[in-house]
């Protein structure tokens, strides 16, 4: 049999948000005319789905619909600082700060409505575009609630800042508190190795990751699937080659990327171990998703054909070379 199957696994851990430094983010929120929401924070979509995540958080916090949430552009002259788009920090830092800003705006609105309806403020509810008072017949649309606030001279706005309680590392032994939220994960890979060509196909990956709380499960899956395929690229094919500082891989003809034919079936399992510090319990997934993939694949190659690839990528040539070396050693042993 030229094609051999095997399975391998690996685990991972990762820290969410900036490392060994204080992270922070700010946001402004306004419950706007017609019961829509206007959110301004220093964030732009880099593809991970943050705008949708924020719209869901805002909808949840304010009681409006995600489609009625408007998120302002990220602009250093027009929006509060939310620092950078990276470090798996967007849902954690910006999601949490937007939730806090929304709570302040909502409290303004609730305060007015409690006065108007003459009920305790904690009986005021908002949800799905409506505002009502528990145990009463008072129920109006969010648009009407905003209108009521404005007629009383109140614009329902809020702002918030969210920072982390973290420290740098001791320069001699590394002691410190680099993150306040950690995530853990584990992946299993199933591969098929062609012992004639050395080609490795990753047929499936089962990926279990803690994300704290999944705001949009499909978005989390998308991050896991994309992360795994990027890791697969590094594990099996991608190689930025340099010789005396000059690259021979300056285009996609030479720099090989995973295509639709290379990708495994990814089976994601989302674990929710809520973060106790932030208001939402969310953590992050962008980076951790790709950490266990490569060792899981390399361990699966060993399971399939008995060679350990310790130097990436596991190209067909490298796998064949390892197989030949293994054969040589076995025949040497047999000869002894």
């Amino acid at each position: 049999m030229a094609r051999k199957r095997g399975r391998g696994m690996a685990a991972c851990w990762y820290g969410i948000a900036r490392t060994a430094t204080v992270d922070r983010a700010g946001a402004w929120a306004e419950i706007d005319d017609g019961g829509s929401a206007k959110i301004v924070t220093g964030v732009t979509e880099i593809g991970e789905g943050i705008l949708t995540v924020l719209a869901q958080i805002v909808a949840h916090e304010l009681g409006v619909k995600p489609a009625d949430v408007v998120i302002g552009d990220n602009d250093t002259a027009r929006s509060p600082e939310a620092a950078h788009a990276g470090a798996s920090r967007q849902t954690y830092m910006i999601g949490n700060v937007v939730a806090l800003a929304c709570r302040e705006a909502r409290a303004r609105l609730a305060g007015v409505m409690a006065e108007v309806w003459d009920v305790e403020v904690d009986l005021i509810r908002t949800g799905n575009g409506e505002c009502w008072a528990e145990n009463t017949n008072h129920r109006i649309t969010m648009g009407e609630a905003v209108d009521t606030c404005k007629k009383r001279g109140v614009v329902p706005v809020g702002s918030a800042s969210f920072g982390t309680d973290t420290t740098g590392l001791d320069p001699s032994d590394g002691a410190g508190r680099p993150w306040q939220a950690y995530v853990f994960g584990c992946q299993v890979a199933e591969v098929e190795v062609d012992t004639i060509t050395g080609e490795v196909q990753v047929l499936a990956v089962w990926a279990a990751h803690d994300v704290g709380r999944a705001v949009n499960p499909k978005g989390v899956e998308g991050q896991i699937e994309g992360g795994i395929v990027q890791a697969l690229g590094q594990g099996l094919m991608e190689d930025y080659k340099l010789r005396d500082g000059h690259t021979s891989t300056s285009g996609f003809a030479k720099y090989i990327l995973p295509t639709s034919l290379d990708v495994p079936r990814v089976n994601s399992i989302i674990i929710e171990d809520p973060d106790p510090i932030g208001p939402l319990g969310v953590k992050g997934i962008g980076e951790p998703a790709m950490v266990p993939t490569i060792p899981a694949i390399m361990n699966a190659i060993y399971d399939a054909v008995g060679v350990r690839i310790t130097s990436l990528p596991a190209t067909p040539e490298r796998v064949l070379g390892a197989l030949r070396e293994k054969q040589r050693l076995t025949s040497l042993q047999a000869a002894e």
Binding site: A11, L51, T76, G174, F184, G222, T259, T310
Partner: protein
């Protein structure tokens, strides 16, 4: 060559214009007709972002001279939702969550449209082959396949059209629901404008002169011939930087353009703004630079020896950053261990390959605010640095983050925004720079390549007694994120395991290679690869199942990390259990038992590919031709 009187039908409308015969169809569509929905990802036929229909046939418009489309019916992504309503396939992309950064999506939608036109009953494996010419760097393709299958089934009546609409949430609880991505309609329709799609009135085009040498002293730069060229409005080099020149994520060691020295191939030296990109390119060729080549260093181990060239004066040993972590006494731990393993692991440099090459615009607004629009992942920090570099108060510098067509850490560096700002200031006109794919690959950061030596001491029951790791990593010519990458690599190196004796050193080193920088999973990928690979060896040697050896060592609630931080809840055991259960893992030591396993090839595993098998007839025809 005389201009071509070009006539065609584009998205159902007659178009008659003069065009350059060798102009690419892509440029004609994007620049002349301002149909920017289809993107340029590579300009070489390799990525598919530029795919359009020419007389109903899917074509890569970056490879097609406009003359070849004379008289043709051309359809771009804008054609699909012309009535304002998304096509079934676009709706399916929306519903399935098939778009992330969105940059590949217009081309992907075109290719998928072609696929189900060609075979309305195509199965998943055939769909994969038919999309094989389109690269997506974000999604891992799975949700794209889901979308195409969904559209196929709706078209064939196997699914109701309502399968494509949003499920309404009850009682406004929107957290935990698969709300459709709010940015998807703009991405599947090609309406979203990335920086390279944006234009401004009176805008100039920028091109950059880059270093052909890995290490050289710049003796002189003569821009006079370039400046004289008609259509050139401004030429800049490091001499035009008014403030304190230098950017970086942790150390500001990189000048906007090479200052006195070049340190890697592809480093920016000068930039030109001209009426059009071609003129700017010609002017770049006229800039004369005299170099005196310097000895260069390409290997990070060599770089740390005495007497080798020094890249930056502040780091005479060429070490960018060394992060140590110490717990207990590793030598004692190894002495106490029943099994000590040692291995070297190596990882290579890789390219982010976001489908959107770098692009940006800059202008000086009526209030004198220098404004840069670009897909920067860190406008906050870029504003601080640029203000210092151009010697302006922070309030006079403004960064706007345009939609990012994939970042993965690669767009955290302020690698070109400074040149844009300087040219906007110098010419008092808006300027735009769009990188080619080649430029993007040679001049921007890579993932840190690494060489790691790892020693692990274990007890017979699988408990790790000691772990010692040293990772040497090539940071290339400038610091960028190297310091942070070394830090994260070190903190996470030993994995989520309780280990009484730990010694970790991660060392980032300067060389004359392309700089390394931030890349999704930031150093942890390199170190955890080593640790997780070795744990498999350990499990084999000790006759333990790989899940078991991890459980034996797993951090639990309240564990203390290797940086002596006390954790709260630790979800590792849950993750191990979940992955083991979902994959129906058959227990056993990892001793290459693949052939004897009974857990393989379940129905949540895709079939292996044998290339070409499904298109035998088509292949044969091609071979016969």
């Amino acid at each position: 060559m005389p201009d071509l009187q070009f006539q065609a039908t584009v998205n159902g409308r007659k178009v008659a214009r003069s065009a350059k015969p060798h102009q690419r169809l892509l440029d004609f569509l994007r620049d002349d007709l301002q149909l920017t929905g289809n993107k340029e990802g590579c300009g070489a036929g390799e990525c598919g972002t530029c795919s359009v229909f020419v007389d109903g046939v899917l074509m890569k418009s970056c490879l097609m001279p406009v003359a070849k489309a004379q008289g043709a019916q051309i359809e771009t992504i804008e054609a699909l939702a012309r009535t304002g309503e998304l096509s079934v396939l676009q709706k399916a992309f929306y519903k399935a969550g098939a778009s992330q950064c969105g940059y590949c999506i217009p081309g992907m939608v075109m290719a998928a449209t072609a696929a189900i036109r060609a075979n309305p009953f195509a199965g998943r494996e055939e769909i994969k082959e038919r999309l094989g010419g389109n690269i997506c760097r974000c999604t891992g393709y799975q949700k794209i396949f889901d979308a195409v299958e969904m559209a196929r089934d709706v078209q064939n009546g196997k699914l109701p059209a309502s399968a494509l609409s949003e499920i309404e949430a009850e009682q406004g609880d929107f957290i935990g629901r698969n709300v459709r991505r709010i940015d998807a309609p703009s991405k599947v329709s090609g309406a979203l404008k990335y920086a390279g799609d944006m234009t401004m009135p009176h805008m100039l085009h920028v091109q950059v002169l880059r270093s052909p040498h890995a290490h050289a002293r710049i003796v002189s730069i003569d821009t006079s011939a370039a400046e004289k060229l008609e259509g050139v409005e401004g030429v800049i080099s490091s001499a035009d930087v008014p403030g304190e020149d230098g950017f970086g994520v942790f150390v500001n060691d990189q000048p906007i353009m090479a200052r006195g020295k070049v340190r890697y191939v592809g480093e920016a030296i000068a930039a030109v703004a001209a009426e059009d990109a071609l003129t700017a390119m010609r002017a770049v060729e006229k800039i004369k630079v005299v170099y005196e080549q310097l000895p260069a260093i390409f290997d990070p181990d060599d770089a740390m020896h005495d007497g080798v060239p020094v890249l930056h004066d502040y780091a005479p040993d060429n070490v960018t950053k060394h992060i140590p972590i110490r717990v207990g006494d590793v030598e004692k731990g190894f002495a106490e261990s029943d099994l000590v393993l040692e291995e070297t692991y190596a990882t290579q440099a890789i390219e982010h390959a976001y489908l959107e090459p770098e692009a940006g615009l800059a202008y000086v607004d009526p209030d004198g605010v220098v404004t840069v629009v670009s897909p920067s992942q860190n406008i906050t920090h870029h504003r601080h640095m640029l203000a210092r570099i151009i010697a302006k108060p922070i309030a006079k510098v403004r960064f706007i983050m345009s939609p990012v067509g994939g970042g993965f850490g690669g767009k955290e560096d302020m690698i070109y925004q400074g040149m844009l700002a300087l040219l906007a200031m110098k010419t008092r006109r808006p300027v735009r720079l769009v990188f080619t794919r080649e430029e993007s690959i040679i001049s921007t950061a890579k993932r840190h390549p690494s060489r790691t030596t790892l020693r692990m001491g274990l007890m017979r029951d699988g408990r790790i007694r000691a772990l010692e790791m040293k990772m040497i990593s090539d940071g290339g010519a400038y610091g960028l994120s190297t310091e942070g990458v070394m830090r994260k690599a070190a903190i996470l190196a030993a994995g989520p395991y309780v280990i009484p004796n730990v010694k970790i050193d991660t060392i980032g080193v300067y060389t004359n290679n392309t700089p390394s920088g931030a890349f999704r999973s930031f150093g942890a990928l390199q170190t955890e690869f080593a640790t997780e690979s070795m744990l498999d060896v350990a499990a084999e040697r000790l006759g333990l199942d790989p899940f078991e050896i991890r459980r034996v060592n797993a951090m639990r609630d309240g564990a203390t990390t290797h940086t002596k931080q006390k954790l709260g809840s630790v979800s590792l055991m849950r993750a191990l259990d979940a992955a083991e259960k979902a994959s129906a893992w058959e227990k056993g030591a990892p001793n290459s038992r693949g052939g004897n396993r009974n857990d393989l090839n379940r129905d949540d595993v895709r079939p292996p590919v044998s290339l070409g098998a499904r298109f035998e007839t088509a292949d044969k025809q091609e071979a016969a031709e």
